[in-house]
């Protein structure tokens, strides 16, 4: 596979690992946050952490759309299914994510709700057109990567004047989340030294939105691809910036990310969505201007307007340390539910469901975790 296989080369990886080991300053530590779950996944799947020197640690960020979706939004989707008997379409990732009382969309489906797993928003369009008597609701999640496909769907729905299609919008924005992570807080004991910037989000938004990070928080950013060599090269680029005292946005993933991103997609998003003034993220709390809602022209397609439900905001499950893990304050093994009450088969938090979730990644690699990992940090 072109553009894939080359970036998984084992020989190059070992050489890059040696270069990194040779270049790190043994007197300091490098805490590099990979914002994206995609990076987390690559790091675990390919064992990248094991190739790093001991003073270079990857810290897992909140860049997993499933993990940051607050429980209350799932409760809302379930209430909507229950009260209006709609057809709810969503990506496979969400089916097993726990809502209040360990309810899930998969269980709701088993109990009779019409929940459909789709692969693309074009499937949603197809369903809406072939089942005109059903109300089809698309439960939309995702960062800027996944948002333009929802925008395309909404434009099509409007052009085709579909009366039976609406969107329950949970599209979130990367820059506000990055800022939230970096904003010093009392609990934020251990600062981050560098950020591995998102790869596919950046294909859409470009590199410019990250400029605020070095500027406002004095942390360097390297936008990195999701293949293991991309991650390693980006780590080396961060090490070099840190060693040289530089602090800028660099782009390792030049083959797919340009400075401006995808202008057409950005215009489309600007037309279809507006920014919500406040919205809760799981783990990060209420962040201003961090989430998209449907623009006035598309208000008719807003599932929240079409199917009002009142949901009592559920408290996050007690004992679940997802919030701290999503901020990089804790490692999954420090959660006392990890591996006992909480496993991928019976997850308590979303971070244990998504294959990009830090808890799931740790679990899947539990054979390689020191039992003292909790004590280490």
């Amino acid at each position: 596979m072109k553009y894939v296989t080359e970036f998984r080369d084992q020989h190059l990886a070992h050489q890059l690992a040696q270069t990194i080991a040779a270049e790190v300053d043994p007197s300091r530590s490098y805490r590099l946050m990979e914002f994206c779950g995609g990076h987390t996944h690559a790091i675990f799947r390919y064992g990248v952490q094991q190739l790093m020197p001991p003073n270079l640690r990857f810290v897992h960020g909140p860049g997993c759309p499933v993990c940051v979706l607050p429980m209350a939004r799932l409760d809302q989707a379930l209430a909507l299914l229950h009260e209006y008997d709609v057809t709810l379409c969503t990506y496979g990732d969400l089916l097993r994510v726990p809502a209040s009382g360990r309810q899930t969309l998969l269980k709701a489906k088993a109990a009779g709700a019409d929940v459909r797993m789709i692969y693309s928003t074009q499937d949603v369009l197809q369903i809406a057109r072939t089942e005109p008597h059903r109300q089809i609701v698309f439960l939309a999640i995702g960062f800027e990567t996944t948002t333009p496909p929802t925008a395309v769907l909404l434009e099509q729905a409007r052009a085709l004047q579909l009366k039976n299609l609406s969107v329950l919008c949970n599209h979130v924005l990367t820059p506000p989340a990055l800022r939230a992570i970096l904003t010093p807080s009392l609990e934020h004991a251990m600062p981050l030294d560098g950020i591995l910037g998102p790869s596919h989000v950046s294909t859409i938004i470009g590199t410019a939105p990250y400029e605020c990070v070095p500027r406002d928080f004095h942390v360097p950013v390297v936008i990195a691809g999701f293949e293991p060599l991309d991650v390693m090269q980006a780590a080396l680029m961060l090490v070099r910036q840190l060693n040289a005292g530089r602090c800028v946005v660099e782009n390792q993933y030049r083959r797919a990310v340009s400075a401006a991103g995808n202008l057409r997609a950005r215009e489309l998003m600007a037309r279809v969505f507006v920014i919500r003034s406040s919205f809760e993220w799981r783990g990060l709390g209420f962040l201003p201007d961090s989430v998209l809602a449907l623009a006035a022209d598309y208000a008719d397609f807003d599932a929240e307007r079409r199917f009002p439900v009142s949901v009592i905001t559920a408290p996050e499950p007690s004992g679940c340390d997802c919030p701290a893990i999503l901020r990089g304050l804790k490692e999954p093994t420090q959660c006392r539910l990890f591996g006992s009450a909480c496993t991928p088969d019976h997850p308590i938090g979303a971070c244990m469901v998504s294959s990009e979730g830090a808890c799931a990644a740790y679990w899947t690699h539990r054979a390689y975790l020191a039992p003292t990992a909790a004590a280490e940090t």
């Binding site: 190059l12 928003t121 395309v152 995808n262």
Partner: protein, 84 residues
């Protein structure tokens, strides 16, 4: 996040007037995807495919350059170690 994979455009298609589509190939697997976000793509281009949409085109030159840089970074060390 955002699982996406490079695939080659093999044909422009337009089965449904409401949808701009193309056929892509990925190691022997072909699929119809939406190119609403990159309508300028041409047959032979590589695009990043995410949830059935092309997000952006991949630059062959930049990919080469990245690999060259990696090799250079590695070679630096090879040289080091060979001289060590």
């Amino acid at each position: 996040m955002c699982l996406a994979i490079p695939a080659r455009i093999t044909a422009r298609t337009q089965i449904d007037p409401a949808i701009d589509t193309a056929q892509v190939d990925l190691g022997g697997v072909s699929r119809e995807i939406s190119i609403a976000l990159v309508p300028e793509v041409a047959v032979g281009d590589y695009v990043l495919v995410h949830v059935g949409y092309a997000l952006s085109t991949l630059s062959a030159d930049e990919a080469q350059e990245t690999l060259r840089l990696m090799a250079e970074m590695a070679r630096l060390l090879d040289n080091d170690s060979s001289t060590a």
